[in-house]
């Protein structure tokens, strides 16, 4: 076939265990899961791709586009398998990445270990130079010293170097000159400038980001090159686009330049999917809830846009504890991740409290009911004891569960210690894991200033449909949506993501003394650069632009992102900016502070294609028709505090609009949904299960 079918799109999500491949043909979709091949991930990708192409009876040359997300960059950092990397810093600032923020992430634990730095002290070099906070050169760059350092780096056989000088975000000239000199002496070395990777104030976060980028760059460039060659060898001639942590697609060449932006792209895909589910249903406030084997991830989505953050921590030394990882300052979809999954282990602590996670039984040995030698009780075991898991049909029948092992594990690890019956112990485990997730969501919602009870829960991932009802009850949430095809949710999400690039730069100004010329020049430069980076992945689609200023009252530490009108800022806009800031401030914190001075810390420019418009679903109509149960089983009812007969329904035979009153189970291959007595379920026009809070319960 000569021309690619515009509707044939391939999406690939390479995770730690599985590589998910989805072929989207517009009307139909083919998906497969293959085992990841960590040493050469492209092999699993090719295997999966051939399989879905064969199913659809088309070839590589028929594909219009390939979109790809991978955990390779994240894993390279976690496993410390990146390149030997050097750092060039300002004299006197050799230890910025080791001094970090000088704090302990656990106040009471005297035995904490800080995360291991990516560049040891002996490979951290300094050169005489200094730029001040206003970008003025206070000490000229000593070029001879730079050359000397470059030769040392060559001698050390480093393959990458990060250049991170103080206040380089305000004036990158010295970093650029250092890069030129290093490139002359060491032409094969990969170079990252902090003023390009993260042109923002705060030396620790900027240096850490530049170092992480340099550290993964040789590896990622090699992998992406091999991937491109492999697809070309199969006859694919169209571009490969990469998913970023910010939920945008970017070109292969931009990904090679800023591989640090590929970190956490898998979970970003899940959030994008949840945003699409929200848009199709006109749900303006959504909480996405992804609960798998090891962790649960929660993300706030408003107006069909996931909340974004500007910092992410890789490789937390103490899992999930804030401050224990390496910060990278990149645009990222903001998520809270906690150690709460099906495999999370339940124990009893010294205060006789049940604890769940963050330790996980993982897939080996797995929960006790897998019968693979696990003896500690997990969340899945508790769910088995409570009758919530279909023992025969677990994971599509691939795994035959042993419920008696769950009973033994729950009884011995929790029941015996607390003198609880096995059901009550299992109920306690389920309650605690649900409470942990609810508390994480609550604290996150405060950090972001949202009222959680106003949101609809979009639940996906293996364990989410079992726990969604109780989580919703705890959070006061009224509606839950469980979309179809949630098993390969991230890969489907990639296909929905816009092509975009976002730049953020620090440039401090007081609002009442704004240098209009400088501000406009900065924004225009950023706009040009962002367009150049976004355009290759846009494939000719129109690009739009969004500009923000990050503002706060002078003296505060947290900024509010304020949207700017497109085009030049003029003197006439100034009063409006103040008013808009004050209005936002009132919305978040009840009242603004009259007369207080306002400052702008940073500016951002996002250049993006429009997201694919969501197909709005027909409004759901109230139906009085009750669905027909396919069977029943005994299961725990947490409202009643006892076992009772619960009817089961097959998702495959449910018809749109039919009511399923809780308590009930809706069964499907791979997972089952628990509808608690407080909810009533039905299938909507998009094939999702929708659970609504019942009026009187």
């Amino acid at each position: 076939m000569a021309t690619a079918s515009p509707s044939a799109r391939l999406s690939v999500d390479v995770g730690g265990t599985f590589t998910d491949v989805v072929l989207d043909l517009g009307a139909t979709r083919h998906a497969t899961k293959v085992l990841t091949t960590p040493d050469a991930p492209e092999q699993a990708i090719l295997e999966g791709t051939r399989s879905v192409l064969a199913e659809a009876a088309i070839g590589f040359s028929d594909l219009a586009v390939v979109v790809h997300g991978t955990t390779l960059a994240t894993n390279a950092i976690i496993e410390r398998k990146g390149a030997k990397t050097a750092l060039i810093a300002t004299d006197g600032f050799r230890d910025v990445i080791e001094i970090a923020d000088e704090s302990r992430y656990d106040q009471y634990d005297l035995e904490i270990e800080k995360p291991a730095v990516l560049v040891p002290r002996r490979l951290r070099f300094t050169v005489p130079e200094r730029v001040d906070v206003e970008g003025r050169v206070r000490l000229a760059l000593d070029e001879a010293a730079v050359a000397k350092v470059a030769h040392l780096i060559v001698k050390e056989k480093c393959r990458a170097v990060a250049i991170a000088l103080i206040h380089a975000y305000a004036n990158p000239a010295h970093e650029q000159r250092v890069a030129t000199i290093v490139a002359e002496i060491a032409p094969d070395i990969a170079i990252t400038l902090s003023s390009e990777a993260c042109p923002e104030m705060r030396e620790y976060e900027r240096t850490s980001t530049a170092v992480a980028n340099a550290y993964v760059q040789p590896l990622m460039a090699g992998y992406l090159g091999r991937l491109e060659t492999a697809f070309a060898a199969e006859g694919y001639r169209r571009p490969i686009h990469l998913m970023t942590s910010g939920g945008n697609l970017t070109s292969l060449s931009t990904a090679r330049q800023f591989p640090v932006r590929l970190i956490e792209s898998g979970p970003a895909g899940g959030a994008i999917l949840a945003a699409v589910v929200a848009a199709e249903r006109s749900e303006k406030k959504v909480l996405s809830f992804d609960m798998g084997g090891t962790t649960a991830k929660i993300c706030v989505i408003q107006n069909y846009q996931p909340f974004k953050a500007r910092t992410f921590e890789v490789d937390r030394a103490a899992r999930f504890l804030k401050g224990s990882g390496l910060p990278v300052r990149i645009p990222v979809i903001e998520m809270v991740e906690i150690g709460a999954g099906g495999g999370s282990i339940a124990r009893v602590d010294i205060l006789k409290r049940i604890t769940v996670g963050p330790e996980s039984a993982a897939s080996v040995p797995g929960p006790a009911c897998y019968g693979r030698g696990g003896t500690e009780a997990t969340v899945t075991d508790a769910d088995v004891v409570l009758g919530r898991i279909d023992v025969e049909g677990f994971a599509g029948g691939m795994l035959k569960l042993e419920p008696e092992q769950s009973v033994a594990a729950v009884a011995s690890s929790v029941g015996a210690t607390l003198g609880l019956s096995v059901e009550n112990a299992a109920h306690g485990i389920a309650e605690i894991v649900d409470e942990n997730m609810a508390n994480a969501a609550r604290v996150h919602s405060v950090e972001r200033g949202v009222v959680i009870a106003e949101h609809t829960l979009v639940a996906f991932g293996g364990a989410a449909p079992l726990h969604a009802c109780r989580l919703a009850e705890k959070l006061g949430i009224q509606r839950i949506v469980i979309p179809e095809g949630a098993g390969v949710g991230s890969a489907i999400g990639f296909l929905k993501a816009p092509a975009a690039f976002e730049l953020v730069r620090s440039r401090f100004m007081f609002l009442d003394a704004l240098d209009l010329g400088a501000a406009n020049a900065l924004l225009d430069t950023m706009s040009r650069e962002a367009k150049a980076l976004a355009a290759p992945a846009a494939l000719g689609r129109p690009l739009f632009e969004e500009r923000h200023a990050y503002m706060r009252y002078t003296g505060q530490g947290h900024e509010i992102a304020l949207k700017l009108a497109s085009g030049q800022i003029t003197a006439a806009d100034m009063a409006g900016l103040r008013e808009a800031f004050e209005a936002d401030y009132r919305r978040l914190f009840e009242r603004h502070i009259p007369g207080a001075r306002i400052e702008i810390l940073s500016w951002s420019v996002l250049v993006s294609t429009s997201a694919e418009p969501a197909k709005k679903l027909a409004a759901r109509r109230a139906s009085t028709a009750a669905a027909k149960a396919s069977g029943s089983r005994l299961a725990w009812d947490h409202h009643a505090g006892k076992f009772g007969k619960v009817e089961t329904y097959d998702r495959a035979t449910l018809k749109t609009g039919q009511r399923v009153p809780g308590p009930a189970f809706i069964l499907e291959s791979g997972t089952s949904t628990y509808v608690s007595a407080a909810f009533e379920a039905s299938l909507d026009a998009g094939g999702a299960i929708v659970l609504d809070r019942r009026k009187s319960s």
Partner: protein, 586 residues
């Protein structure tokens, strides 16, 4: 004040929308226990949320950047039920005691919805005038069910500024006794005017007062939601459960320790003369008691400590060693008690100056560790830097854009922590304080100075089988060719952190000029426009004889430039025990 008084405490007493569902509290048997546990974790989440609100809305840079704040919930008897884990151990019991003072001044039966109580009395709050404590009663179904309290460090409260130079508390700033900040929802505008008029930073200070009030409101709203969800009329059963379980947990941990009494003393620099901190720690089945008899008398200048702050840091240190997984509340704190003779530096009475009480108070975990080392050496680290190296600078700005005062800012930094029994100490890390360091680029934006150097200090970590953490070298000059003032409040210059069990001392701190001239560790000093201030923070003490350090660890330290060749030869190869024969080290 008309524009700001309306909503200050409405959430503390307004009824939340009633939820449609949720399990009832009428549970029987074992289930009650699980439900109580769920409510306990919820209460901890409530105070974390309260603390987050404070952090997000704070103006004070030491609150928002460094986390110098505290938030907690108390039952109607004044028992603390939960406290957010934040950067300030100094607030651990001091805020709890503060609530008891509030209840004494404003009896429960007189409290009404919309009331907010305030004070910054160092002896009824958290130890110095910069800390405002606010307490808000929380009503549910018409009855007072709980009190929310919070405190944070305001950047300026007038007086002499954030240094130790005052000779009485009246010089240290505006003194607010137990007062009502709001009465039935109506804000005390006279008090707010007084506060604004008595600080160099009126906008920030006023903003921080609102921030404190709002965070209590958020806590109260969430608590009421929980009580509706679980259909509770009061917190009595939950409070008993939390306190009993926690107390039993701490006592069970104490039961595993040897019983007896151990004494330790530590000498620190002081202001005019060295100060002896002497502790006797007694472990018995009933708990752990620390008595500070033998400690030096109160000093003339502001490094004195009110007893509540002494108790806070003492109990924090005990908690780290004995029961670090048990949350702070009235039950877990009860078995840990502290006494100090009135008039000593650790129980300084009013009107002694106390502004820089942290320099002395933050040493107390190490003083207590010296006792515990004798009982359980395998669990206790060597001495560390202990006190924060807060670099407080003041002066003119170049452009006069920052208000009519100029600048007055505190830059937080740290030395090394003590070597641990099985690990090296942490370099440039706060302990016992949990605050963060200030980024250099942020500091240079707030004040017109240039940091020419801020890096680890080679050889500063005390040698030992495990090594002390490294300190830092920091060099600061003016950016605008103007002199600036240093409000020095540093210790460990004459008395470095001590190594233990044959480990060497960490290197002492030093404060000097680029000319080589030594500066005083405490008190106001002027840095000329063409001079640079050089501050070296201490390294932590080493643990065990350096001759026993693993050769790999020595080689790694040498390659990384953490120790010099000379130190390897002179100390690691020779050991600290002069009678032993030296060994060969590469």
């Amino acid at each position: 004040m008309a524009t700001t008084r309306t909503a200050i405490s409405k959430t503390a007493y307004s009824k939340p929308a009633r939820r449609k569902s949720g399990p009832t509290a009428a549970r029987t048997g074992h289930l009650g226990d699980i439900e109580l546990q769920v409510m306990w974790s919820r209460l901890i989440a409530v105070v974390e949320e309260q603390a987050q609100t404070l952090l997000r809305t704070a103006f004070s840079s030491i609150v928002r950047e460094a986390g110098d704040l505290s938030a907690g919930v108390f039952d109607a008897r004044g028992r603390m039920l939960a406290q957010a884990v934040t950067g300030t151990p100094g607030h651990v019991n001091s805020m709890a005691e503060s609530v008891v003072h509030f209840i004494r001044h404003f009896p429960l039966e007189t409290m009404k919805p919309g009331d907010i109580y305030i004070c910054n009395d160092p002896w009824m709050g958290t130890g110095h005038l910069n800390d405002f404590v606010l307490t808000t009663p929380c009503f549910h179904r018409g009855k007072l069910v709980a009190l929310f309290s919070c405190t944070s460090h305001l950047m300026d409260i007038g007086g002499i500024g954030f240094g130790p130079d005052a000779t009485d508390v009246f010089m240290e700033g505006l003194y607010i006794p137990m007062l009502k900040l709001a009465d039935g929802g109506k804000l005390n505008s006279t008090l707010m005017a007084m506060i604004r008029a008595n600080t160099r930073l009126p906008v920030d200070t006023e903003g921080d007062v609102y921030s404190l009030a709002n965070c209590n409101d958020v806590g109260a709203r969430r608590l009421i939601e929980m009580m509706v969800e679980f259909n509770l009329d009061n917190l009595d059963q939950l409070a008993d459960h939390i306190c009993d379980r926690s107390r039993e947990g701490v006592l069970a941990e104490i039961a595993k320790l040897p019983h007896g009494s151990w004494k330790n003393s530590m000498t620190i620099d002081g202001y005019d003369e060295p100060v002896d901190l002497v502790a006797t720690t007694t472990i018995s089945p009933k708990g752990i008691h620390v008595d500070y008899t033998g400690t030096s008398p109160a000093a003339r200048r502001g490094i004195n400590v009110p007893l509540a702050y002494t108790t806070a840091y003492t109990v924090f240190g005990l908690g780290c060693i004995v029961a670090n997984r048990i949350p702070n509340n009235a039950g877990s704190l009860a078995p840990l008690t502290v006494s100090a003779p009135l008039g000593c530096i650790l129980n300084a009475p009013k009107p002694k100056p106390v502004l820089a009480r942290h320099i002395t108070g933050q040493m107390l975990p190490d003083v207590v560790f010296g006792c515990l080392r004798q009982a359980i050496p395998h669990r206790v680290p060597a001495e560390g830097t202990s006190c924060l190296f807060n670099i407080t600078l003041r002066g003119q700005t170049g452009d006069q854009l920052r208000g009519n005062y100029g600048f007055a800012t505190t830059f937080t930094s740290n030395g090394g922590t003590g070597a641990r029994p099985s690990k090296d100490g942490l370099s440039a890390t706060a302990y016992p304080s949990g605050v963060k360091g200030t980024p250099v680029e942020i500091a240079e934006q707030i004040m017109p100075v240039i940091f020419w150097r801020k890096q680890l200090r080679e050889d500063s970590g005390g040698a030992g089988k495990t090594r002390g953490g490294l300190g830092q070298e920091i060099e600061i000059g003016s950016r605008i060719g103007q002199p600036f003032e240093l409000l020095a409040a540093f210790d460990r210059i004459d008395h470095p952190p001590r190594g233990k069990d044959g480990g060497a001392n960490g290197q002492a701190a030093s404060v000097s000029l680029s000319t080589g001239k030594k500066l005083k560790g405490k008190g106001f000093q002027l840095i000329q426009a063409d001079e640079r201030l050089i501050i070296k923070t201490p390294g932590g003490g080493g643990l065990g004889n350096p001759i026993d350090r693993a050769p790999d660890a020595i080689a790694e330290d040498l390659a990384e430039g953490r120790v010099s060749k000379r130190t390897v030869q002179d100390i690691y190869a020779a050991g600290t025990d002069k009678t032993a024969s030296p060994r060969k080290v590469k």
